[in-house]
Symmetry: C2
């Protein structure tokens, strides 16, 4: 649910003349992405998305994100492509916000991904990781292990208002993760937020990966660990090992995991569960009254964390 900044029609018309995309025939705020304002923009020629970047996105990161989308699209990864204006720029300003027009991808997100969908995801994620290898720009992952304790410290005083002992559980897990976080795994560009609502399907096939605004450089296997958390648990909290196997094996067919990556999967999965647990706890405790976006329940990720804590090796994820 995300339209925060309104774009009056005359401002839109003036903005669109900076591009060679024809005249506007329709313009509607859409409920996609929770961080930015998104509009479906239809012109005489095609459909586009106009994104206005809101305060949670650092404007300094935008060239990284837009450049990445350019790079990936040139490598045939199914992702939105920034549209460049007549002055060749993709990033400009509208209604006082940094803004970009990106191409429109067909497809619909899955509410309940199937094991087959997980295999599609694995294949495309591996291709995405390989394509990202040649992207020259870097961006640190502010939401990796070194970023978790500061985030936690902002929530400590009130964490136990969500669930008793939550503070102690998180604190102990952070100690563990800081002591056991792997080193030297293969790195590259990761999506870092590849939940089912950021993946479109058309019929049986994956048709698009969207929302690259958490992308950064980190361990590639950490991206896979995020997907394990985001795609392989059922609504009742149960882990679906078939989905995990399909995800990991389809990924491994394109980019095989090395022995260190396999061994690190459980701790990476714990870390990924921690990352979403922490941001959800933070958002829960920092709710803005009347905000458009209702925070998601953080406790979902405590359950996932507990699952990964009990895992003793990659076999638990369906790997032989």
């Amino acid at each position: 649910m995300a339209v925060y900044t309104e774009v009056p029609d005359e401002m839109l018309r003036a903005f669109v003349t900076e591009y060679d995309i024809g005249k506007v025939v329709s313009f509607k705020g859409i409920a996609e992405g929770v961080e930015n304002s998104n509009y479906l923009l239809q012109t005489e020629h095609a459909n586009f998305i106009l994104t206005l970047y809101e305060k949670r996105v650092d404007p300094e990161d935008l060239p990284y994100f837009l450049g990445l989308m350019d790079h990936l699209a040139a490598s045939d990864i199914p992702c939105p492509t920034p549209i460049h204006g007549r002055d060749s720029k993709a990033l400009r300003t509208v209604a006082g916000r940094p803004a970009a027009i990106i191409s429109f991808l067909q497809g619909v997100a899955r509410s309940r991904p199937s094991p087959r969908d997980c295999a599609q995801l694995g294949k495309h994620l591996a291709h995405f990781h390989l394509a990202g290898m040649s992207y020259g720009t870097k961006r640190d992952n502010s939401l990796s292990v070194s970023g978790w304790r500061p985030l936690f410290n902002d929530s400590v005083p009130r964490a136990n208002t969500i669930q008793s002992k939550l503070k102690e559980i998180i604190s102990k897990e952070l100690d563990y993760l800081e002591a056991h976080w792997p080193q030297g795994l293969p790195e590259g560009v990761i999506h870092a937020d590849l939940f089912p609502d950021n993946v479109f399907f058309l019929g049986d096939d994956l048709s698009g990966l969207i929302d690259f605004y958490f992308a950064c450089n980190d361990f590639l296997a950490y991206d896979l660990a995020i997907c394990l958390n985001a795609w392989c648990f059922e609504p009742d909290g149960a882990f679906n090992i078939t989905k995990a196997r399909m995800l990991l094996s389809a990924y491994g067919n394109i980019r095989p995991l090395n022995r260190d990556e396999l061994a690190a999967l459980p701790v990476l999965a714990r870390g990924a569960a921690m990352r979403f647990l922490l941001t959800r706890v933070y958002d829960w405790l920092h709710q803005v009254e009347g905000a458009l976006v209702k925070p998601k329940n953080p406790m979902e990720f405590l359950g996932r964390l507990r699952f990964h804590q009990a895992v003793t090796g990659p076999g638990a994820y369906g790997l032989d």
Copy 2:
């Protein structure tokens, strides 16, 4: 801003097979209409709007609204047309809500309508009123003069928390309106909520009238009085007599107002200002915490009411 009910993709696919509109290629919640959940639905063949009717719409009224859109579209009024399923029905249920797929209209709403836009509105409103004459079904206007006092009574105890003496001002005006409300004016189907956000333009021309979910049978001139309030005041509260003249004369060229209608315009305009003042006061005092829709400031319509109270005849609206 309006997506209240989520439609999972598998539910959507099943729903769409009841129509002959091809397969779904895209589906996005859109921020249009404040009463219902609206989705932009793209299929292989065309674009559509899927509307799920939420609690503010009485399901018993839906056949009136959908039948009206069918009737108007058949009369070449630029408005959405309900899509009928393979069983010929337009109204069915999805995700536990009454729902309909309607055709998609191109165009963009004007943020700041020009006098020329007001003339376009007048012309199309007159054609709409004439086309509505042959619509066989009727629906009373629950938000006309007899409905205002009950609405006010629900807000009385707290009205003065918005502005001092608001209770007294409204109460006195209601007395006046109840005593002077006209009788015997030409009646027919009115839109009853034709604000600029419900009117699309493509280039210089009006391309669509949308959101018929307040439509009802009432004095045709009252619809025009609503448009005077909705289109002819500037953001600073000033009345723009040029816009009013363009609206009324373009309307009159298609359906001339009779003497009684002309004489009643000031009181109808007072009534229209009262209707929106009252619902906005009500919404302001009944805000739901965390609701997606922030209520609009009611005081805007108190200013408009005061303008109309000072009017002594139709000449104030630019008529000779």
